[in-house]
């Protein structure tokens, strides 16, 4: 379906611009798609849809709760609404509407939440979204995606349209480091992608953590001779249990990386799968350590909170030091 986005675009467009472009492309094919924003048409790039389809674009002003309710009504009447605002508002300001109007009714509303994590760094904690994964993870019926970059955003947005039910996709402000030079790769909701094979340790990342994990893995292979498996866990819910289980069995050491509070996000989602497996595994969660992050450029904040490649390298070395007792029956542990 649609165009394949290429590497030429990837240096030129921000992640949100990929979203805007992908949505316009979907809008051309599907007249039932409408778009809503709360005075953030320009910032979230959903305004690109509005320029192309003014009759199917609704700017409700700075009123997120109303936006979610209106979208729910539209979906009930047969339209497919895409809604965009900043992640922190999408998940907190209108959480009740997301919960009751959209998830409970299990309707076709697609929330594309921008400025996720600490990507709007200088705006400070009112504009950092470090709770949205935790909030969204606990809402039944909701599919939760955190794409690694612009190309993956294109694929996630398309998949959201093609899959009935509510979606929450969180993307960053500004430009993401390129993980995928093209959108032409296999993207399946709920199916993690192994980007680097490895047997010593697994780094499970989402969003901007994916590029950083890959950079760290390459460095560690050269400098420490470590084989680091890197998994892009783009779908936080439903999480790919099989990929986690395989990582536990194959490497027995796991690190998670997320631009989010370590309470309630990717790390906890992975941890709950591990705990249910009943097998020992050295484990560390990288992310915002249950505090409000400082202000700054996104890359600086990532460095300060330790989710850039340096932070991951350090964490890998630390977790590699953990000893395991030799146990022939480990395969049978419950």
């Amino acid at each position: 379906m649609g165009l394949t986005f290429t590497a030429v675009d990837s240096t030129a467009l921000s992640t949100a611009e990929y979203y805007g472009k992908a949505l316009c492309e979907l809008g051309e094919e599907h007249p039932e798609i409408v778009a809503l924003t709360a005075d953030l048409g320009k910032s979230t790039k959903i305004g690109m849809f509005g320029e192309q389809f003014p009759d199917r674009f609704f700017n409700v002003g700075i009123a997120e709760q109303n936006m979610f309710g209106v979208a729910a009504g539209m979906a009930k009447a047969g339209l497919v609404p895409f809604l965009s605002t900043f992640s922190t508002f999408a998940s907190l300001r209108s959480a009740d509407q997301l919960h009751s109007d959209i998830c409970y009714q299990n309707i076709d509303c697609k929330v594309i939440a921008t400025h996720s994590g600490t990507s709007f760094g200088q705006a400070g904690s009112t504009h950092h979204a470090i709770c949205d994964l935790a909030v969204a993870r606990s809402m039944p019926n909701l599919t939760l995606i955190c794409p690694a970059d612009g190309m993956e955003t294109v694929n996630a947005v398309r998949a959201a349209y093609e899959t009935p039910g509510p979606f929450y996709i969180r993307i960053n402000r500004g430009f993401d480091r390129v993980v995928y030079p093209s959108s032409d790769y296999e993207f399946e909701i709920g199916k993690a992608i192994t980007l680097n094979e490895g047997t010593d340790i697994t780094v499970i990342a989402c969003g901007s953590g994916v590029f950083q994990a890959l950079t760290a893995a390459k460095f560690l292979e050269n400098s420490d001779g470590l084989k680091v498996r890197v998994i892009n866990m783009h779908t936080i819910k439903p999480i790919d249990r099989e990929a986690v289980e395989k990582a536990v069995n194959d490497t027995r050491r796991i690190i998670t990386v997320e631009d989010h509070n370590v309470k309630g996000g990717l790390g906890d989602a992975v941890a709950s799968v591990m705990a249910e497996l009943g097998k020992g595994c050295a484990f560390k969660k990288l992310g915002v350590q249950d505090e409000f992050a400082p202000i700054g450029l996104h890359e600086d904040i990532m460095s300060i909170i330790g989710i850039d490649s340096n932070g991951i390298i350090e964490a890998v070395r630390e977790v590699m030091k953990k000893d395991f007792e030799e146990d022939d029956d480990w395969e049978d542990e419950v």
Binding site: V70, G73, A77, S100, D101, N106
Partner: protein, 288 residues
């Protein structure tokens, strides 16, 4: 179209039947939001038996008029209406609020046939109704959307967000009601959080406002007829009502927002409804 005396009497009869059915449901359930159910039953009767364009054989008909019950706790009023309409099994009412029943305090649109939106958390309904109204315009459909809000829920900021947007988008296919029974859980609305001057508030938000006696079927019909003719702005019908209307032991008492009644109270309530129906019929004879 003006309401004939015969039509008015028929609506009074239906409203009486539905009040009784709601009272019975409340009794079977053990407890319920009886006060706010009685205050809107005339509105529901008029909507479901005179105005809503629905197809009995196809509850999901895409061109049907929509009804959004923003005051979701009045499910004990809407469920009997939808059962009586033939869309849900009568026996279900006897399970209202029982464990694992499809019907509970706040009706689930995915479980109860004919419910256009699951509501319960207050202040959501007007936004949802605006969404279905705007969808009609986007899709080029003629259906109307009706919404009933409680007066207490007007404390929620989201209602006013929706109001601002309804006027901004000129949603003249949206007809809303405030069930102005002046009661909320903790007391009278003007004591807990004053709403007056309410009509002026809605007018200043860009609505065309009609104030009516919410228990006068003729006045309700006149207001809806006016709203259906109206173009360019949304209409808000402020229906002045009595909490628990028709049941003298509950009438106007905010403590009967939610409650349980014993056999004795139930019998008294039934007798009161009978008396109330007689008064209502006498009014038709006088005013028709």
């Amino acid at each position: 179209m003006p309401l004939t005396k015969q039509e008015w009497l028929a609506l009074e009869k239906k409203a009486d039947e539905l009040r009784r059915l709601s009272l019975d449901t409340n009794y079977w359930a053990g407890s319920g939001h009886i006060g706010g159910a009685m205050s809107i039953m005339d509105m529901l009767t008029v909507l479901y038996h005179r105005y809503l364009n629905l197809k009995k054989e196809d509850p999901d008909w895409e061109d049907r008029d929509r009804f959004i019950m923003s005051k979701g706790h009045a499910g004990i009023a809407l469920a009997p209406v939808l059962v009586d309409y033939g869309w849900n099994d009568f026996e279900q009412l006897k399970t209202f609020n029982h464990s694992n029943s499809a019907m509970g305090i706040h009706l689930d649109a995915n479980k109860v046939v004919g419910v256009d939106a699951s509501t319960g958390s207050l202040g959501h309904g007007l936004s949802i109704a605006l969404g279905t109204a705007l969808a009609a315009k986007t899709l080029g459909k003629d259906y109307k959307t009706y919404c009933i809000m409680g007066d207490g829920e007007l404390n929620e900021g989201s209602i006013w967000e929706a109001g601002m947007a309804a006027a901004h988008f000129k949603a003249d296919n949206l007809i809303s009601f405030v069930d102005r029974n002046e009661c909320m859980i903790d007391g009278k609305t003007e004591d807990v959080m004053a709403l007056e001057p309410l009509a002026e508030k809605w007018e200043s938000f860009g609505f065309i406002v009609k104030e009516v006696d919410g228990h006068n079927i003729k006045e309700l019909c006149q207001a809806i007829d006016f709203a259906l003719e109206n173009k360019g702005a949304p209409v808000m019908i402020i229906a002045n009502t009595v909490k628990g209307a028709g049941i003298d032991i509950f009438e106007g008492d905010y403590r009967w927002h939610y409650g349980a009644m014993d056999q004795e109270m139930y019998e008294k309530a039934k007798a009161s409804l009978e008396k109330y129906y007689a008064q209502r019929k006498a009014r038709v004879e006088k005013e028709a």
